[in-house]
Symmetry: C2
């Protein structure tokens, strides 16, 4: 709990204060009524980003194809794909930019919408038979008129693991494609047929050669790039790190003072942004001196 | 920890003792060498189930299309789809049956294989463009030769929540399609743009009207029906339950003695099987008297 209190910046992309109305939205008559209400609004996304104006989400009247996000208070909120018709106001912002420039609630709505719309964009056809699919359930399902298959938005679980050793050092690695000096805790997709804890152990071993003891759950964060759910663990590790699977170009143990300097914006390395679970895991370790 | 010690039956479908060789398997030459080794074996699945013989997995020489599961010890293990050519030995067993009849390790291998093969069976076409896709990475990816999209096996995170109230009662519900008298803790798919804790709160509210306080993580379990990952939480709840979203036909608070009787196989209701995380959550509550 001491760790929790020590963290100041909220995790971005969570905390959307809305009622998803998961049952009501399946009712076509209810949905049509919501869509035609004067107070209904739609946020807009294109492949260039989330549309904002004056530091807030740009909200417009919902188009016929907009997917339903839920009720914010009593107002129906939708998300529209602006790729083939951009709004004539505001400008597109990347989601990472939105995470710092918008309020936490608006960034969370943007992340939710981005995951949903990118799924539609990349799933227009039936994976089972190849036919074009149709949108149902107000945008929360696609159905195949040819073979009848139901398709639901995808959420990919990812384990992200803070590994510390008995000498109180932190395991961080970097991918070659990242900005110079940027390091993070290790992460990877959960594979079929494994628990979260098994995935944590496998990923750390594959990426670094470090053997991880029992992993304990910390927190989770939606990560809309495009549709991951980051699931954070703390673990005790042992071993001499070496880049293992071609994903990391560098991985090593860091002393506490090196990581403290990085968190303060000094020193050789840069950490993940404050709104990320990677940084939350690291800040928790810094706030908890052994 | 007292809860953990009190549970006797291991969670099924986890604990596969194998090295997935996630890096090596991308190397076509390495894979070809593994496939042609004399000690290579393949378990077999059809839509009728997992093939077993004398209470063990039936293992045969791997066919050309078998997907690679990993190395068990030093032996390469594959999984073959027997739908269009069933083995002439053994018989198919459902996965739930396998969970009790096979060793924990073999059941875990079967679950892993079942998730992977059912994904292939239902994802032969590109969701992005509709063209037929090709198997790459030894069966851990499908790629589209037409538009170039990469497709990975899907794992759907599900929250499963043990809700107890301040009067030490347990919230259980039942779906109309279940065997008569069967009750379980509540569960539901995580939606895009929510944390696990937000999903737990939303699902319980939708299905029962009960409001849940902070949820704390307990354990996770691969659930190959067809490709879920059950993520278990404990939570404190308050409210008068009523079936909410049409999924449950009955939901109510149960007294401790009712649940104890059910766990002992007596009384009015039946609980989920001992190898399920649903039952693990319930047994943990029974073992921890307030």
């Amino acid at each position: 709990m001491a760790e929790e209190r020590a963290t100041q910046v909220p995790l971005a992309f969570s905390g959307a204060a809305l009622d998803r109305s998961s049952i009501d939205r399946r009712d076509a008559a209810w949905m049509a009524a919501q869509r035609s209400r004067a107070e209904a609004r739609s946020l807009m996304l294109s492949e260039r980003g989330l549309w904002v104006e004056d530091g807030r989400l740009l909200l417009v009247a919902p188009g016929a194809d907009a997917v339903f996000l839920g009720l914010v208070g009593d107002r129906p909120l939708f998300a529209g794909d602006a790729t083939e018709g951009e709004p004539d106001r505001g400008h597109p912002a990347g989601l990472r930019e939105a995470a710092t420039e918008l309020s936490a609630e608006e960034a969370a709505l943007g992340a939710y919408a981005a995951s949903l719309l990118s799924w539609h964009r990349r799933h227009r056809f039936c994976a089972n038979c190849g036919a074009p699919t149709e949108v149902v359930d107000a945008g929360h399902e696609r159905r195949c008129p040819s073979c009848g298959a139901h398709h639901f938005p995808r959420t990919d679980p990812v384990v992200i693991v803070r590994v510390v050793d008995l000498r109180d050092r932190l395991l961080l690695g970097r991918q070659g494609s990242w900005p110079q000096g940027r390091f993070s805790v290790l992460a990877g997709f959960v594979e079929p047929g494994e628990t979260l804890e098994e995935a944590a152990r496998r990923e750390v071993l594959e990426e670094s050669g470090v053997v991880v003891d029992e992993a304990s759950y910390m927190a989770s964060q939606p990560w809309p790039f495009p549709s991951s759910l980051m699931i954070g663990f703390n673990a005790l590790g042992e071993g001499e790190p070496r880049p293992g699977d071609g994903e990391l170009e560098q991985v090593r143990w860091f002393e506490r003072d090196e990581v403290e300097a990085a968190a303060a914006g000094r020193g050789e390395i840069m950490l993940s942004p404050p709104y990320s679970i990677s940084r939350r895991l690291i800040d928790g370790w810094l706030a908890d001196p052994g």
